[in-house]
Subunit: 216 residues, 2 copies
């Protein structure tokens, strides 16, 4: 199966597998059933997801844990260091800078930008806030390839244009806006309210079931 | 197809369809091709997603926009008001309280809790911060059904136990921890660093393609 187009949901599951595997030391073997149980999926799903990238298992036994971690890290390209820049040092931006999941060796936020003169020159999480006019130059100089966008909607597009001019190839967008970007740039829109809608769907469905069964 | 188990990814796409539809007035007709183009999927996918819930289209024409909005709102249960509570008034919690996507009529955050005596009694986004000891009582009193968890990992489980005692049925968890919850409670874990891993995967893959093609 290697070479087939890999669905995004498979990549998401690889991240989940890696998180589960991190709880184990590198020695030892884990079966696909074992890994599946840890993350709440099926053994067939685990094998299918991994099969996109080659053969990692020991037939009839399972996966060497250390090797599997290393392979997934390599697939996700988190075995190297990425330099990131964040634009929009407001509440969400500042919270993300302090977010443990964003303080990882693989993902180094090395520059922060804002257009508020009162913020420029101040430090947030040890990084000096620079004016948005400098985005392109600083990103080019430090070879930043990933941009995080936490600006208000009305300035988002102009910031993204500057990021792309600065050589950014991937953008994680928290601004509630539809961005126009060249096809070669990868855009991930994060809309946290969609998570709430998924919850309300399940709660309403469950309430209906309870009602039908006459339970409270 | 109604009655079949609906995949979570379909629910996610319904949220995306609803966002795209909101840009249109209620009058008029939109084809499944038209809707698919707006969100970057196929007409077959749109039809399949909606078919889980019944027949909404006008054969050979498409969907009545106003009616489709209303139907999706009903499916996602965002045609009613949900009361929410947030626990953990730190950086991320405060940012989420100010987050536009969380300031919606359907999702009303009516209570905020923290265990820091310096924060208790202060207001954040107009809501007075209450001590964590009061979680169960206040949630029961105001019939809060959804909880948002933005505490550090070490207190997350005890807070969740209090939430569930208070009648919460759905939890949006930002704490980097594996929570033990009863099966009837719906848990959505949000790990923003997984979005970064999806980006790094695609950037590394694209870089390899470019290299193979001899382009820079």
């Amino acid at each position: 199966m290697p070479g087939f187009k890999v669905p995004e949901i498979t990549i998401q599951r690889l991240s989940i597998y890696l998180r589960a595997l991190k709880k184990f030391t590198d020695e030892g073997i884990l079966s696909s059933q074992g890994l599946a149980r840890l993350v709440g999926t099926t053994a067939a799903q685990v094998r299918k997801d991994l099969a996109y990238f080659g053969e990692f298992g020991i037939p009839g036994q399972g996966y060497n844990i250390g090797k599997l971690k290393q392979e997934i890290r390599h697939i996700l390209a988190v075995d190297k260091e990425w330099r990131l820049a964040l634009v929009g040092a407001g509440k969400l931006g500042t919270a993300l800078l302090a977010y443990p999941g964003f303080k990882r060796e693989e993902f180094k936020i090395i520059a922060v930008f804002d257009n508020d003169p009162k913020k420029i020159g101040k430090k947030v999480e040890g990084i000096t806030i620079e004016p948005v006019e400098k985005i392109t130059d600083i990103l080019l100089e430090y070879e930043v390839k990933i941009g995080i966008l936490t600006t208000p909607a009305d300035v988002a597009q102009s910031v993204v244009d500057k990021m792309i001019e600065g050589g950014v190839r991937g953008i994680l967008n928290f601004a509630p806006v539809h961005l126009k970007i060249p096809e070669k740039i990868k855009l991930k829109n994060v809309d946290l309210s969609m998570e709430l809608e998924a919850l309300s769907y399940f709660l309403a469905k469950e309430a209906k079931h309870r009602k039908a069964k006459g339970r409270t």
